[in-house]
């Protein structure tokens, strides 16, 4: 076989595999969307390939359900994820700038320390964390889900790499000569330069926080403070067989859709951002 037709065959095979994998990725979401538009009675009868007419009915029964306060959950999740993302990127940028632009005794130690804990799982400190926030009176509140994101080593590392590549120290010098105070230099000169990096990390932090289940499930007890993943877990734990299936699909859909919408709008930046935070080399 000539190498040209061999290459051609390879290309065809590659496309078949890619289409198959894309099918796998999309198929389950397709069924989810279709099933969320069918009523319980219809779903009992079998599977449908096309959307039904019960979308609004299912949506209303989710919205008016006191047992699983989904709308309240989405609001809580939005508050937690939004605040986490905001303080995470601001303080990570601040820390990165502090370690990048200034020279001080503990600089090297501080940097090495952050790099050492870069991928440390939060689960190993979960027990002490729970006891601590109980003592601080923050048990069963949203605050302990937000404040700790000030210290995010991975986001810091991303910001630091970005500063290295795009902030000349002479710019900082120039600002100083013009009489800008240090905080003003950071807020008015450095932050605008870091906008692209902050945007990418804001998305990732938001998504990470939105999807986070382990710690919130341990911290939150009362229903009106639950975030979306806890409600999904609650749904799984409930007496499953007697439930309205249309409603279950609608709840899963509501948990997933906000992220998919954000992703479809910003996919270009997100995919470019995946690799930027990776290793150099």
């Amino acid at each position: 076989m000539s190498s040209k037709s061999f290459n051609r065959l390879r290309t065809v095979f590659a496309h078949v595999l890619l289409i198959f994998l894309s099918f796998l990725c999309l198929f389950f979401f397709y069924i989810l969307i279709i099933n969320a538009t069918h009523s319980h009675a219809e779903l009992q009868r079998g599977f449908y390939a096309l959307p039904g007419t019960s979308f609004l009915k299912n949506f209303n029964s989710v919205a008016n359900n006191g047992e699983f306060p989904m709308m309240r959950g989405i609001l809580n999740s939005l508050i937690v994820s939004g605040c986490s993302a905001a303080i995470c990127i601001y303080f990570s940028a601040l820390t990165a700038y502090g370690l990048y632009a200034y020279d001080f005794k503990l600089k090297k130690i501080a940097f090495t320390f952050i790099m050492m804990i870069l991928v440390m799982p939060t689960q190993v400190t979960a027990m002490g964390f729970l006891r601590l926030i109980t003592k601080m009176g923050m048990y069963d509140s949203l605050l302990p889900l937000i404040i700790p994101s000030i210290a995010s080593p991975a986001v810091f590392y991303f910001m630091y790499s970005y500063l290295e590549s795009s902030l000349p120290l002479s710019l900082v010098e120039a600002a100083r000569i013009d009489g800008a105070k240090e905080f003003r230099t950071f807020n008015q000169i450095v932050l605008p330069i870091m906008k692209p990096a902050m945007a990418v990390q804001a998305i990732f932090t938001f998504v990470g926080s939105w999807n986070n289940y382990f710690v919130p499930a341990l911290v939150i007890q009362s229903k009106d403070k639950m975030t979306v993943p806890i409600l999904i877990a609650l749904l799984r734990g409930a007496d499953y067989m007697n439930r309205d299936m249309g409603k279950i699909y609608m709840m899963i859909l509501l948990a997933i859709v906000p992220i998919i919408l954000v992703y479809l709008l910003l996919s270009k930046y997100i995919i470019a951002g995946v690799t930027l935070g990776g290793v150099k080399g």
Partner: protein, 315 residues
């Protein structure tokens, strides 16, 4: 000299700027870590409404964990991770080398990248709930397979260890292969095109090129992917927890280490939870150190070290 004195003047600001990070880390990670380690040496649990302890008992928690099912759960975690990781790395390497190969002329690259990365952003717990519903006895997967005539009676995926493990592993595969593909793609694109060109002139075919050039040159990133994936696997929780409702059914064959930790935390079994956390901390500490070595290595492919050794031998 002038410059140096100036930098010293500003040192105070460096400390001020990094203070929030370290204060937050100190309060919300370091104090909890010390507390966790401390209570791992105590008998401290709740039985009914009565709190027992804390009484110092040395290493007893560690010993009883070893004798309990912890190692079995570690094995489960490893199996679940492997089911997801092996196809993930194979597919990701293949796709990445195809995407960057100009002769393959992959169409709609951006579309494929967007689609395969999508599952990575989906809420793992909702994804698990979705799979649980779709693969239940009365779910659509069974009804599709039935109507296509593939199976004659419904499969209860949740009843067998094989079924649950495969489902959890496949979900991990689906959620992570896109991410890995994009990481490896960036790594391959970082290789100098000169090397590929030279190999082509020397008559290298695509298989040789992949195994002799691409693979060795992206070794540092492969190692990074492997270790971070092990750390991710160690933390596996959301998917099996939701899929089995925290039970690790059937017969706790899909119970992971973090699910075990979670159940101790929920029953306020602080001593055991502490000891288990310390075990996890030691393992992830070692893995973190390896990642640190990889990210801060200025000689990633070992070529400098090899050259040095050669020089020493006088070659």
């Amino acid at each position: 000299m002038q410059n140096k004195r100036k930098l010293v003047n500003y040192a105070k600001w460096g400390y001020i700027f990094i203070l929030p990070f370290f204060a937050s880390f100190f309060i919300f990670s370091l104090i909890p870590l010390v507390d966790t380690i401390r209570y791992s040496f105590y008998e401290y649990y709740r039985s009914g409404i009565k709190e027992i302890g804390p009484n110092f008992i040395g290493m007893a928690n560690y010993a009883s964990l070893i004798q309990s099912d912890m190692l079995k759960y570690a094995g489960n975690t490893l199996i679940l991770w492997l089911i997801g990781f092996i196809p993930q790395i194979v597919i990701a390497l293949t796709l990445a080398s195809w995407f960057v190969d100009v002769r393959m002329r992959i169409r709609c690259q951006q579309f494929f990248k967007v689609v395969i990365y999508l599952p990575n952003l989906i809420m793992a717990s909702a994804f698990a709930m979705l799979f649980f519903t779709l693969f239940s006895k009365t779910g659509p997967v069974n009804s599709i397979l039935m109507s296509l005539g593939v199976i004659s009676e419904v499969i209860d995926f949740m009843r067998t260890a094989f079924g649950v493990r495969t489902l959890a592993g496949s979900m991990n595969f689906l959620m992570w292969f896109g991410n890995t593909t994009i990481m490896l793609m960036a790594a391959i694109m970082g290789i100098s095109p000169d090397i590929f060109e030279a190999s082509e002139i020397d008559g290298c075919n695509s298989t040789q090129r992949f195994f002799r050039i691409t693979l060795p040159l992206i070794r540092p990133i492969l190692a990074y992917t492997l270790i971070t994936s092990i750390i991710g696997g160690l933390q596996m929780f959301d998917v099996p927890q939701i899929l089995t409702n925290g039970q690790g059914n059937p017969d706790r064959t899909s119970m992971t280490l973090i699910m075990f930790l979670n159940s101790h935390l929920r029953s306020k079994n602080y001593g055991m939870a502490g000891a288990l956390s310390v075990y996890l901390f030691i393992v992830s500490g070692i893995l973190c150190f390896i990642v640190y070595k990889i990210t801060n290595d200025n000689d990633p492919d070992g070529s400098k070290a090899a050259a040095k050794a050669k020089k020493k031998r006088g070659g």
